[in-house]
Symmetry: C2
Subunit: 265 residues, 2 copies
């Protein structure tokens, strides 16, 4: 069974992309077959994975707007065996407006992904263990497509004051998608990111999130660490850029907790 | 003459809200009359200014979607004389979809603002010196409304690797708005934010941005500082929360540089 997980939070800069690529790499390094779908027009996940995403490269835009088969745009990630990526290119920026008037506008990614997973099966390929979808910082049609395509929602929360401000809106939108578009989608995981042990604020926010969502928050928190933010400039995840760093070890631990939880939640 | 400045960058978490509220407070503390328009459905700017923005409070949603007069929703900011705010409430989250099919969907904020400024003049009130518009992390209709309403664009850039990745897209969109909707809009200012002097990465990104945009980047950089991120939890800007901190002093300096540049750029 393939676990399809959408990484979402409309608050910007909370570690969606960083968590997507590092969790994906950590899972793949442990033998899992993992696909990252980059649904952010900025293409940060594609950059972090070292995957080519210049304008003419086949991308997720071709899949959801033009109807191209996903299998034709998947690229392997050089640094990590078992890790693949559907890149985002700049034309994705226009997708939200283009999707508004299209048929089945909310479920085009879901359909493309289920077709791809079935085609892999019929071709006798090993099934993917995880699909992680990186979302832009908004609740528009791209994020809705991701919520319709997934069963699980993974929410990174930065240990900063504004963290809780948009959360109720995100949860409301997930409820709307579950009521009208995808009965299976549910929040399975919350990850606390950029935890700075030197500040009282981080501890206060972490405490508050754990009180609100005791069963969803992973025990491991990701510390604020320069090595994590340096890795993308080398086209790598921190897992291969600096495997012994606190950042890499905490993502390894968080990935283990995610895999142990299973889809059962 | 009122300078209308849109604070925009679709990259999330780069310091748009933090720069908007702290620059606004710094300008007001020096005697300027300043209005902040919160155009982000999360309402972080309203929170940081300590302005009530619960669901039933009259807000920018009523102005741009319902056509309500802006003068009816402006609130004074208690902590700082001369500083006002048009708050954002949760119903702004639905505005982008609602705007798509409305008449003059791109210029509703521009029209509401120019009507408000003229009404203030006719009532014999002192003119506003600055209007700062805080945008959400996307290039949708809310940000387009802000770009149509403004003459200047102020771009905060975080000193992190992904900083330059989305910039060309933002500049392209500004060019489109200038070509079709607002001939006056131009990028007047770039501010480097969350500069961490301990990392090589921050210096590299700052250097690269200065090389690309030598005339636009303010000399002052905003350091990463815990006091800046703590201030919103007290419903204050750092200017009043901790006026002697490096964060407050650097925003004071940046505001001085912005006012000296004038609208001439
Ligand atoms: N644990 C960490 N320690 C230090 N820096 C981090 C950490 N996690 C993320 N970062 C940095 O913080 C910035 C924001 O992270 P990231 O881009 O992953 O967030 P995001 O939620 O994907 O942003 P967006 O909303 O724009 O999509 C990036 O520059 C990233 O390198
Ligand atoms: N100079 C700084 N030092 C430390 N923390 C900062 C600094 N500037 C901003 N922050 C913190 O970083 C986070 C992101 O900043 P902010 O919310 O202002 O960015 P934004 O661009 O408005 O985000 P969004 O894209 O969600 O609108 C906030 O928690 C804020 O308190
Ligand atoms: Mg991202
Ligand atoms: Mg903001």
């Amino acid at each position: 069974r393939t676990r399809v997980i959408t990484v979402a939070n409309q608050k910007g800069g909370v570690g969606k992309t960083t968590s997507t690529v590092n969790m994906a790499a950590a899972l793949a390094l442990h033998g899992a077959a993992v696909l990252v779908v980059d649904l952010d027009p900025q293409g940060n996940a594609s950059t972090a994975l070292g995957v080519d995403h210049r304008a003419e490269v086949p991308s997720v835009y071709d899949v959801i707007v033009e109807g191209r088969a996903m299998g034709e745009v998947v690229q392997p990630v050089k640094e990590v065996d078992g890790l693949f990526c559907v890149p985002a290119t700049i034309d994705l920026a226009g997708a939200e407006i283009e999707l508004v008037s299209m048929v089945a506008r909310e479920s085009r990614l879901a359909k493309a992904l289920s077709t791809y997973l079935r085609a892999r099966q019929e071709a006798g390929e090993a099934p993917l263990d995880y699909v992680l979808i990186d979302c832009p910082p908004s609740l528009g049609l791209l994020t809705v497509n991701a919520l319709v395509a997934a069963e699980e929602v993974f929410i990174p929360i930065q240990c900063e004051y504004y963290a809780l401000e948009g959360l109720s809106q995100l949860l409301k939108n997930i409820d709307l998608v579950r009521a009208h578009l995808n009965a299976d989608v549910h929040v399975s995981t919350i990850l606390l990111t950029m935890y700075d042990a030197r500040t009282r604020l981080a501890a206060q926010v972490a405490e508050e999130v754990r009180q609100h969502f005791p069963d969803l928050v992973l025990p491991t928190m990701i510390p604020r660490s320069v090595r994590i933010s340096e890795a993308p400039s080398y086209g790598q995840t921190v897992m291969t850029y600096d495997p012994g760093s606190t950042g890499a070890l905490s993502y390894l631990e968080a990935a283990r907790e995610l895999s142990l939880r299973g889809a059962a939640t």
